[in-house]
Symmetry: C4
Subunit: 261 residues, 4 copies
Amino acid sequence: MLEGAAALAVLGGGGARVARGQAARDVPRELARLVAANRILANEGVVDAFGHVSVRDPRNRDRFWLSRSRSPALVELDDLMEFALDGTAIDARGRTPYGERMIHAAVYAARADVQSVVHHHAYGVLPFTITAEPLRPVVHTASVIGAEIPVWDIRTKFGGTDMLVRSIEQGSDLAATLADNTCVLIRGHGAVVAGASVERAVLTAIYLQVNANVLLQALPLGAPEPLSAEEIARSAEAQFSPLALDRSWEYFCQRAGVDPA
Amino acid sequence: MLEGAAALAVLGGGGARVARGQAARDVPRELARLVAANRILANEGVVDAFGHVSVRDPRNRDRFWLSRSRSPALVELDDLMEFALDGTAIDARGRTPYGERMIHAAVYAARADVQSVVHHHAYGVLPFTITAEPLRPVVHTASVIGAEIPVWDIRTKFGGTDMLVRSIEQGSDLAATLADNTCVLIRGHGAVVAGASVERAVLTAIYLQVNANVLLQALPLGAPEPLSAEEIARSAEAQFSPLALDRSWEYFCQRAGVDPA
Amino acid sequence: MLEGAAALAVLGGGGARVARGQAARDVPRELARLVAANRILANEGVVDAFGHVSVRDPRNRDRFWLSRSRSPALVELDDLMEFALDGTAIDARGRTPYGERMIHAAVYAARADVQSVVHHHAYGVLPFTITAEPLRPVVHTASVIGAEIPVWDIRTKFGGTDMLVRSIEQGSDLAATLADNTCVLIRGHGAVVAGASVERAVLTAIYLQVNANVLLQALPLGAPEPLSAEEIARSAEAQFSPLALDRSWEYFCQRAGVDPA
Amino acid sequence: MLEGAAALAVLGGGGARVARGQAARDVPRELARLVAANRILANEGVVDAFGHVSVRDPRNRDRFWLSRSRSPALVELDDLMEFALDGTAIDARGRTPYGERMIHAAVYAARADVQSVVHHHAYGVLPFTITAEPLRPVVHTASVIGAEIPVWDIRTKFGGTDMLVRSIEQGSDLAATLADNTCVLIRGHGAVVAGASVERAVLTAIYLQVNANVLLQALPLGAPEPLSAEEIARSAEAQFSPLALDRSWEYFCQRAGVDPA
């Protein structure tokens, strides 16, 4: 658990701004945010026993941080491991990494704009990975998921597997399907969310699930009206403004019992 | 958090009557109720990171109170800001207001009978903002939502936007669609609920969601039988009688961990 | 809250048998059970701000006990009031009764076998009060709800009302529709559950909701297979055997944080 | 509740491996795991007042352990009873066994590979016991439920009953329908899950429910794409590898407030 005193000093009260996007961040604070991200995603039901979230090293763009193999609800600072962009652990110290760390490695390698990656199996999102129904933003808070969410099927290139993204080749193929989008679904498995910061990736993952749940309830009522391309672009910008992003990050931190880092 | 001793003195035990409607109320108690309203709406899942609730100043009908930009679950007395009916903050003291405070300003300006306004994105309500299925009261506890709930689409008059109600013109247009009703839905966004008191607005917002969820489950079973106009009018009166209103306000306060103010 | 020491002495450990059905019971313990029943129904989401549960007086079959007007989650021993079978309070001591106490009065008057009555608006049950889809037992734990669940519509005899059962005439008409069944639905309003003991009425109300929720999920999958009449009768007997009833009463008490009385 | 010190010594920290499958295990630790299993299944909503979980004795393959008749949420070490494979209690000490212990007895007798059995009525699974819709794995975490899940109907051989599996003949008939599969559904009643260890049985029961819930939400969207036979087999192996099994067991123990035994 993060220590409150230091974190609150950083925040300077209740409504502090958090640094965002490409801005330089110091490593200890970024790792504290990564622990918070784990706890938030668990607390919101985006991840359960499985799923993980990583952050690119703020000083070294060829490295990223990810917990050892542990459920996000339980992740602590000491669980965080550093990885190269081929998925090699820098200093494992006997800790076992996740089997699917290649998802993160491949997305960072392919996308210079991405600072954080979430992989999850949110239950509300899963129906869209096994049916032809497209997952599209229908409510403004979910505009951040983007206009297009492609679906990747490991079977297409790799045949009958255990469904896990185990190799850098599989990760790269997934990243190629993600392309310039923010989210990609994985058939019968889950999703990957890419963000320009830990906070953005976490909030996108949360509202991807909210949007999926709204859509699941709306579809039996008739064809849902989608947001227009312009609405998606403008609303996403508003949702990632400090006004909205700081508010929601503080909220989700409070619910998860972690201090905003 | 409200201090228990003072609040309980006001209540005089468990079954106290709370002042209602247009009756004069003193400001400190009204603001304590507004804090309670924030916590209740968060606790019942009507609002999440986003959404807000306001109250008209009991001494000055041209002013209203609303939290600074903060998630309702976290709002405290010091967060409450006073606004004029054009949305100008009276004494901001460095606090940042919500981007959508114009919703509140415009409804108070248009509707002399309204003392409290809730804006929210309750997940169960959202499907009715993106489909043609009308949201109508089907259970008696939800009669307070009223017989007609219009849907407002910002795109109709303002084209491609970030979906937020940012200007007093947009707010006024929304208020014109609300007209004399209690609730209005906003396409792809959420809802606005108007009440003759904080308690009424909060309870209406809660039972709007209950009614929406019941309807979502009933629709696949066949055409739901609506309440008649007479049933809606009479039942709403019963739901806002002291017998029902005091009981439910005490209940929702207890669930949210706040003292009835 | 019930005091643990006395209640546990009664229980004699973890697996005690509770008296059931028509057996004579002493009043203090029966009232403690009635408080527990209120808390359990609230904790399981069968009741919310509204709904109530009563018990016939074990010494005087022409009297019943019911809380003053208060949400079940908050009911304490001092809230319990005694009523005659015409709904008159015996010793109100300034306490305000529920507006719908006539439901209880009328059912006790009509049904000598009934010792406890629950009235509720469980959200999962409500869709069956506004559509033509019948609510029938489809899983064995819900066999106790009985083979037939009629639907009563206050409009049929009493026209446009506030939907509440306010008079003994309305209550009697509802009881006539209930007839010899265990449950009756009320159009656009909720349900009434009758039981041969507090424990039976509570468990029936809980599993009525479970069965409704299962049915809501099953109906889109195709026509659900109902239990046969013989299965319902035999399974209900098994569910109300000490083996099943004691186990579930202990369980629901523990979840609600009350001692089995 | 398990005592933390001893259990943590066994674990040796946060990421310990738990013994699996057919490996010899000592009895006290196995019974501690059985208590944990009860609490986990209750905490995840797989069981409610009803349902039970057993383990074969690690030293004597003709014996198994199961709680006395008590809801899983409340089970403690002293509640565990030893049974022969005909369902006879070895040393009852006045404790009352579950009426359906024959389910466990019969599965252990029929299946030498099974070390643990769960019987439950998970609400999400029940719709598949009363409709023709087959329950098949559609997400990789649920691959462990197996490619085929037969449905057993007690009525076929035993006519009109109370729906409970009371005799060894009924249990054996159920076990014959289970055959070599991992799960079997029981019409209008619930399911039985067999596992090569307590951890496997528990996780299979949890993800059976997850898969059922995903399928319930996906079916209205169109025909869900199932996992291929090869994907099921390979993914199940991955889900039961130490990497995944240890992680999820630690997670579900933490959520249930028990120490991994």
